[in-house]
Amino acid sequence: MAVGGIGFMAVPAVGQAVVPTGWAQYQGGPTHPGSVATGPTAPYAVDDVTRFGDLPGGSSLSLGLSAPVVLDETAVVVGPTFIQAVGLGDGGTDWTMPRLFGPSVPAAIEGTDSTSARAHPVVVYTEGWGNGPGNPTSSATPTTSVRPGGGSASASAVPSATAAPRSESASPSDGIPASTGVASDVMARSLVDGSKEWDSPVQLKATSRTGVTIDGAVAFVGDIRGNVYAIDTTDGTVRWTVNVGGFLESAIALADGHLIVSVDAYANGSTARVVSLTEGTGEVDWHYDSGHSGYLTAPAIADGRVFFGLTSLGAVASVPSLVAVDLQGGSVAWESHLTTAVTPATSPTVAGSHVFLEDASGNVVAVEGSTGHLDWTFALNSLSAQGATIVIGNQVLVPTDRGTIVVIDATSGHQIFVSADAGGPLHFPAPVGTDRVLGPRGGPSPGLANFSHDPNAGALTDIVSPTTPSYGRILGNFAIAAVVICAALLLLFRPLAKRMGPAFLVDEDGALEATDDGEDA
């Protein structure tokens, strides 16, 4: 049961090197580790909440607020009709730009370092519904043809001339003419003031729900028709596109030149897969085929392995599991059975030698990354339609629909703290520096809640999961119930049985006759 050395080894994996500081992409970086070695730990107090106006769609999966991305003192969240930078402290910037109405999926921040062409960081995000949310059961036919150097968005890249309804108030990308057709695209803005970085947005062939993953100066997005795009962030040119089929709705992960794409398949006869593409060309390296229709979480990459949750839609029931495959070659390392389904919105978290994942019913599992051995499970018994756990040091932070952050000790699997209610369901927490955790709040009054380390916020506890058996309690409670039931039934029915007499009488032939005279008509 010991999770040895998490405190020492909980180091963000490969991707952290690309973006200098912060939590600049979904789950912390292009590998989606979801963990930091040091940061604010429990107990937490809710400091303040940055409130947003009412959002269309409330806290639903595709609308609401996206997972925040953070660089230094600025957080960026995507709402259905806007993208907003929120200053979190000194040096932070505040701006809001309208956005084509579309799924609220995470943006990504391209930072600056000595090799960058720009002097300021850039936010890349997707927008627009395209032809609508799409029908996940009508998967596109996969192709592996690569179109390198496709150039910037052009009319030829747009497969349909049917435009989604647009309103002026929700048409921020004024570079897109109203007659362009499908209104689903990728755009880049300066993190400093929100100004446009590209002359025009990059048109997509269908709605994007994957969010953006950045490596160096290339952004990667996928769409619901199985297209994956590599876009140069300096000028918005499309380096290549490839169609992997299926329905892409989870964030794309990236490490060591491999682009890992979760391909969901809801149609009968299609299969859920994980596809690895060569980062530079988009050619398919390998693919893992689940053999069933189903859906996957976003992948996380660490120590040469790809981890993802899989929900297979079998003939009898949906079968969830946590799977590890080798980054080089895609061979299956292990598969660990889960209790209930895992949603495409979430992602495993990798910290040290362990992988953590929360399923849709609020069961958090800790699995050894090398063997797939289940070390512990903690049942929160709280539905979790969206959101992902993060690990800070040796603490697993689980956002709940009850508006709290539950903190579980990564070694023991015991609950050590529950925060105060932040006023609405929490989704994707993100650490900010060393003293705060940002909790995006959904529901009727969305906002960004600031949780800070506060020793006075409450004492740490040591509560075991309700799924840990206490045989004394089981037997004791059973004994009480059984005695009560036996006594009640026997006291009531034994006199009744004597009064009613035998069920059958033996007649003169020795045959049995029912003693009751009541007969059905």
Partner: protein, 340 residues
């Protein structure tokens, strides 16, 4: 068209042509068999079970043993699932398949469901053995267990048939939409109980083999006035409703049930055993009017099978379910034998 118009013969003059489902849905004359009311049968069944310590203790202990076993195997809950633990097949098959699906990896989950037919068959057979003796006015003894063990193949057969019904329900219900699909979800398990609900009692009380017990159960269900279908529908509907209530009340992943949870789930399972007894009482009450298996006609030397003649037991039409003294005699002989 008026009767005797000359255009058609009167119905009595020519035998009616037998349709495809005539054997099942055709006319059956009313029976003069003394069949107790559903309410009477349930009260008798409930009194037989609830006044017998063994019949209360066995399901309670079985539930505790299985709960401890699955918890030791890593089952995280929910406990509410166990409200259907001792339900009758094919209603119980949902439990048998859901439990391994939570507990085991996908590749062996269905296998776990298939394996569960054996312990369930053992429980059904032994419990029915005890119930039949209690209804006969005897106390539970080793003889009850022996007669139950003899019925084990039949009980396992009923459980296997239950899986077939469940699979068919699972495939058919989604295809038929939410309205008719829900009716199918209730109707098909009820059909399974209707057809095979008496089989284990027949195997226990008459010592018949699996095939004979199953076929006689179908005939018993179709005895006019037996009201087996309403009983099966009522049971499935009530169980379904209670199962939803209990499952939603105790849906937490928690392996340490409270006293209240134990009380609800144990009572639900005692109710299921009462239904075993209800079916047993009902069958024993009209067993004498249920025809035995149709004997296989011996082939003559030419290899042809002689036609059945009226008056032989096997030639009785489906509607000819009048009182059968020979059946009653054999039943009473069994009863007397058991008394010895």
């Amino acid at each position: 068209m008026s009767k005797g118009s000359g255009f058609r013969n009167a119905p009595s003059e020519a035998p009616a042509r037998r349709g495809l489902l005539d054997s099942v849905l055709g006319y059956r004359p009313p029976s003069d068999a003394p069949i107790p009311k559903l309410r009477t049968a349930f009260v008798r069944g409930a009194v037989a079970v609830c006044s017998t310590p063994w019949l209360i203790a066995v399901p309670l202990v079985a539930l505790l043993a299985v709960w401890l076993g699955v918890v030791l195997s890593g089952f995280p809950g929910p406990f509410g699932l166990f409200g259907g633990f001792l339900s009758l097949p094919p209603f119980s098959t949902n439990f048998d398949v859901t439990l391994p699906a939570i507990l085991l990896p996908a590749k062996i989950a269905l296998l776990g469901g298939l394996v569960s037919v054996l312990p369930r068959g053992v429980f059904l057979a032994l419990t029915t053995g005890m119930i039949v003796d209690v209804l006969d006015g005897k106390s539970v003894s080793r003889g009850s267990l022996r007669s139950g063990i003899r019925a084990l193949p039949t009980a396992v057969g009923v459980c296997i048939l239950g899986i077939g019904f469940w699979l068919f329900t699972f495939v058919a219900a989604p295809l038929l939409g939410p309205g008719i699909g829900t009716l199918v979800q209730i109707g098909l398990p009820a059909l399974g109980i209707y057809l095979f609900g008496y089989a284990i009692t027949i195997a226990v009380s008459e010592g018949k083999g699996m095939a004979d017990s199953l076929s006689k159960s179908v005939r018993a269900a179709r005895v006019p006035g037996s009201n087996t279908l309403p009983l099966a529908l009522l049971y499935v509907f009530v169980s379904f409703a209670f199962q939803i209530v209990i499952a939603s009340k105790y849906q937490r992943f928690d392996v340490n049930p409270t006293v209240g949870a134990w009380v609800w789930v144990l009572l639900m399972n005692v109710f299921h055993v009462c239904i075993y007894a209800t079916l047993a009482f009902r069958y024993l009450a009209f067993a004498h009017v249920v025809a035995d298996s149709r004997p296989r006609p011996a082939r003559d030397r030419s290899g042809k099978t002689p036609p059945l003649r009226a008056g032989t037991p096997g030639s009785q039409g489906k509607g000819a379910s009048a009182k059968r003294p020979q059946s009653k005699g054999s039943r009473s002989k069994n009863a007397r034998n058991r008394r010895r």
